[in-house]
C-alpha cells in the first residue's frame, strides 16, 4: 500500500518537476504542457539508429528510471511514509544511483553515434569529480545521526537542521547532486550546443519518453535526498509532515533547475580540477568539523 502511494507520489512529483523545468526553460508556467509533450512523444516514431548496440540502446532508458526509483525507495516523506526503511539507507541511495552512470554510458554507446558516445564518456569522466562529493558529505551526515537509517537522519536534525550544522557539506552535496542529475551548468553529457543533445541525441519516441521520465525521477529523488540529509526532512511547524516534505522538495528542485540558467556550462577540465582541489579537501574538513562537534556536544 505504502509502496503504491509512494510510487504515485513519485510520478506526480516527476510531473511537477517537468512543469518546473518547462517554466525554467521557456519562462511560461503551464500545467498542461508536460502532459501534451509526453503524449506527443508516445505518438512519434521511436527510430532505431543504424547498427545500434541493441541491448545497450534498449536497456539504458529503463535502467536510468529503475536506478532513480530504487534510490527513492529509502526516502521518507513522513515518519511512516517510506517504501523500505533500510538499515543501510543512506548508503543505499548512493549504491542505487551508481547505475545512473551505467545507464548513461550504455545510452552513449548504444546508438552508434559520435555525439552520444562523447556524451556518455563525458559522464564517466565527470564521475571522478562528483562521486566523492556525494559520499563524503553523506558520511558526515551519518556521523551526526549515528545511524544509516534515513528516518533516523531526519530525527537527528530535530534541534538544528544539517544545512546550519554542516553548511559546507550541504553546498558540496547540492553541487554534486546537480552534477549527478546532469543539470545545467553540469549538463556536459547532454550539452545541446556542444553535442546536439549528447546521450539523448539519438533517442526518439517512446524510448525518449522513458529516458526523460527517468531523468525527472532522478532529479526529484536527489532533491528529496537533499531535503532528508540537510533540510530536516518532514520537520516543520504548523503544517503536517507530508506538506513540509513536499514544499521543501519542490523548493530544492526549483533551485536546482533554475541555477543553471544564469551561467554558461562549466568546462569539463575545471569541474574535475575544482572538485579535486577544493571539493575533496573541503569534504574532509567537513567530516573533521562534524566529528569534533559530535564529540563535544554528545
Amino acid at each position: 500500500m505504502t509502496t503504491a502511494v509512494l510510487l504515485l507520489l513519485l510520478a506526480f512529483g516527476a510531473y511537477l518537476v517537468a512543469v518546473l523545468e518547462n517554466w525554467a526553460t521557456s519562462g511560461r508556467f503551464q500545467l498542461a504542457t508536460p502532459a501534451f509533450s509526453a503524449l506527443a512523444l508516445l505518438g512519434r516514431e521511436s527510430v532505431l539508429p543504424r547498427k545500434p548496440d541493441r541491448i545497450f540502446f534498449e536497456v539504458a532508458p529503463t535502467l536510468l528510471l529503475i536506478s532513480a526509483v530504487l534510490a527513492a525507495a529509502v526516502i521518507p516523506l513522513t515518519p511512516n511514509l517510506i517504501i523500505t526503511d533500510l538499515a543501510t539507507g543512506a548508503l543505499f541511495i548512493n549504491a542505487a544511483l551508481v547505475y545512473v552512470l551505467v545507464a548513461l554510458i550504455m545510452a552513449g554507446w548504444g546508438p552508434n553515434g559520435a555525439y552520444a558516445m562523447i556524451g556518455g564518456w563525458r559522464f564517466l569522466g565527470q564521475l571522478i569529480a562528483y562521486a566523492m562529493l556525494i559520499v563524503m558529505p553523506i558520511t558526515a551526515v551519518v556521523m551526526r545521526a549515528e545511524s544509516l537509517l534515513t528516518t533516523q537522519i531526519v530525527v537527528s536534525q530535530a534541534g538544528l537542521w544539517n544545512i546550519v550544522y554542516q553548511p559546507v557539506g550541504f553546498v558540496l552535496f547540492f553541487i554534486a547532486a546537480m552534477a549527478l542529475a546532469f543539470l545545467p551548468p553540469f549538463d556536459l553529457t547532454t550539452a545541446k550546443g556542444e553535442l546536439a543533445g549528447g546521450v539523448e541525441a539519438e533517442y526518439s519516441g517512446v524510448r525518449l519518453a522513458v529516458f526523460r521520465l527517468g531523468r525527472l525521477v532522478l532529479i526529484i529523488t536527489l532533491a528529496a535526498a537533499t531535503v532528508v540529509f540537510y533540510l530536516g526532512g518532514w520537520q516543520g511547524p504548523w503544517l503536517p509532515p507530508w506538506a513540509w516534505s513536499a514544499i521543501k522538495i519542490l523548493a530544492v528542485t526549483a533551485i536546482m533547475l533554475l541555477a543553471g540558467r544564469y551561467m554558461p556550462r562549466i568546462r569539463e577540465a575545471n569541474l574535475l580540477s575544482w572538485c579535486w582541489m577544493f571539493g575533496i579537501p573541503l569534504a574532509l574538513l567537513n567530516i573533521f568539523l562534524v566529528g569534533v562537534l559530535v564529540l563535544v556536544f554528545s
Partner: protein
Amino acid sequence: MITGARHGKLSGLRRLLATAMARDLKVFVIPGPDIARAHGLDINAAGLQMVASPRHASVLLVIGAIPPALREAATVIYAQMARPRALFVLGTNALLSPLPDADMTAELSQRDLIEGVQQLRQLFSAHAFRPDISDFDAPVLQIRLEYTCPMHPEVIQDEPGSCPKCGMTLVPRETQANMEHAHMEQQQTDSGTDVQMASTHEHQHMADDTPASVVYTCPMHPEVVQDEPGSCPKCGMFLEPREVKSESTHEHQHQHQHMADDTPAPVVYTCPMHPEVVQNEPGSCPKCGMTLVPRETQDTHEHGDTDSHANHTGMDHSAMNHDEMDFMSMVDVTKDLPRSTDGLPMEWIDAPFGPFFPGLPGGLLLSLTLDGDTVASSGALSLTESMNLLAHSPMDSTDFMEQLANMDPLTPVAYRLLACRALENAAGINVPADTARARAGALERERITSHLGWLTLFAQQTGFDWLMRRAGSLQLKFQHASLEQIVALKPAIQTLIKRLQRTLLLKSRTVGIGRLMPEATMRGPVARAAGLHDDARSADQTFTTLGFTPAGRKESDAFARLHVRLDEITHSLMLIEAAGAMESPTLLPVGTASGTGDATVETPRGPARLQLTLTHGQVSAAQLETPSTPHLDLVDPLMEQQELGDALVAVGSLDLSPWSSQQTFPQ
C-alpha cells in the same frame, strides 16, 4: 496531407496523440536559428520549440532559398527525423530537391510564420497518421558498400574478392553517403581547407603511395624483426613476412630503426616514473631513487616530442621486458591505432559538426577528427554557395548592389553600404555629409544587432539560457528600431553588460580559450581583441567627426573577443546617438559614369573591401575581400588539441559568417 505522416489509421487513441503532437511542435531550423533571427523571426514566440537534435523534431523549418550543398545536408536531417514529420518552408517557392515537397509554405515574416504554425497544427491533428505511407529516399541517403581487407586497410574496392596482398577474403564495410558527399564537396572547392581535409582522411585510408618494404617478424614475439626469412631466436617459430610503411605508424618507424644498421640509436637512461629525468649514464633517479632504465633515442623527431614519448614506451617493452610481453601485448594490439599527444593509442573518430549544428553558425561545416573528446584535426568549410559577384557582365549598378546586399543574410546593410560606396566612388559622386551620417547610423545599428546575434549563438553553444533569451530578444528589437527606440533600449543593454560581468563561470569558460598567435591573419573584432587597432572606421571622416575610437583588448582569447564586442555595442550606441539619424543606404544615381571604385566598410565581422570597374554606368568587373575568408583558415589551428567544448567556443569566438567567405574573384 503530410508527406512524412506516420503509418496507421487515425482513430481512437491516435486522435488524442495527434492532438498532442499538434500542440507540441518541435522544430529544427535550417540553416539555423541565427539566420531566423537575422530575418527578424522569433521562433519561440510563434509557438515552436527549437530542439538540438533532428530526432526530437517534428517540423523542419527551412528559411529562404538554400544552396544545393545545404539542401542535401537538409535531406539527411529530414530523414533522421521521427515520423510524423513536416517540412515548413519560408520565403521561397522553389523546389528544394532532393527534399520532398513542402507541406507548408509561407512568406518570410513573423506574421506569416505564426499563421503557418496554426495551419501546421491543424495538419498534424488531422493527418499525423495515414494508412498509406511510402518510405522517403534520396540519392544522398544511399549507403554504399565497399570491401576492405582486415589486415590491409589500404585495400578498398567496390566488389567482393580477396586481398591482392595477403589473399584474405575482403570484408564489406559501409561508407556513409553523407560523409562521402562531404568529401566530394571538399574536392570541388579550391580553398586552402582542402589540404587539411585530405590529411584528415589519410588517417583512415592510409596513403598508398608510400613505399613499402617487407620485414620478417615472429607471430609471438613482435619485437623480433629482421630483413631475411628465418626462425625466431626465442621460440623457434618461422618468421612471417610483414609489410612496413615508411610513414604510417610509430611502431613501423621503430622497426625501421632496427633495420637501419648504419644509424645506431644512442641509449639514454630514464626513470620509469619520471620521464623527464634523462641522463647518459646508468644510475638512480634523483627524484624517487629508482634505478634508471635504458632507452633508445630517436634521431628523427618528425612527429614531435610527445610522439617520441609514445615511442619510448614501446621501446622499453622490447628492450627491457620482452620475456613478459608474450601474451596479449598492448603494444601489439594497439600498434595500428593513431596516437594522441599523451601517447595513448585511441580509436579516432571522424564526426561532422554542421552544417546545421546548434552551437555553430548555420551553413558552417566543421569536419572533426576526435581523439576521445579532444580534437585531433579539423577542417572548416562553408557550405553556402560561392556566389558569383557578377551574375553577368556588364551588370546594372542597382542590380549589383541588391545582389551584394542579399549575399550575407547576417549583415545585409553593411554589404549594401559597401556596394553603394564603391559605385559612388567609381562614379566620382560626393556623398552629402548628412546622408553619410545617416548611413553610419544604420551600419552601427546593424553592428549592435550582429553582436547581439553572436552573443545569442555563444549562449546557445554554452547552454547559457538566460543570455540566449535576453540577447536574442534584444537583437530582434534592435533590428528595425528607430532612434527613439534605441535610446529607450539603452538601459537594457547596459544591464545586460553589467550582468555578464558578474556571471559565474563565464570567465573560466572563455579565458585562455581560442588564443591566436600574433602572426595569424585577423580582422575586425578578432584583431582588436589581439591589441591591433585597425578599424576601417578610423579612416572614415564621418566616423571620426562622430567621435569614434576603436575598442581594444590584448589577450587575444575568447574572453577578450567577448569584451571587444560588448564594448563595441556600447560604442555603437554612442555613435548612433551622435549621428542622430539612421537610414538604410540607397544608391545615389551613378548615371552613365565610368571609372574604378574602391571602398572599405567595417562590417560587424571586420573590414570588407570592394573594388570595381564601372563602364557607362554598368559594373564590368568586381573584386571583394571579406573578413570571414581568412578567419576560416584559423579554425584548424584554433581547434587542434583542444577539448571539444573549448574548441567550439574558440571557433564560435571568431564569429564566422559562412555566407560571406570564399568570395574572392580575381578578374
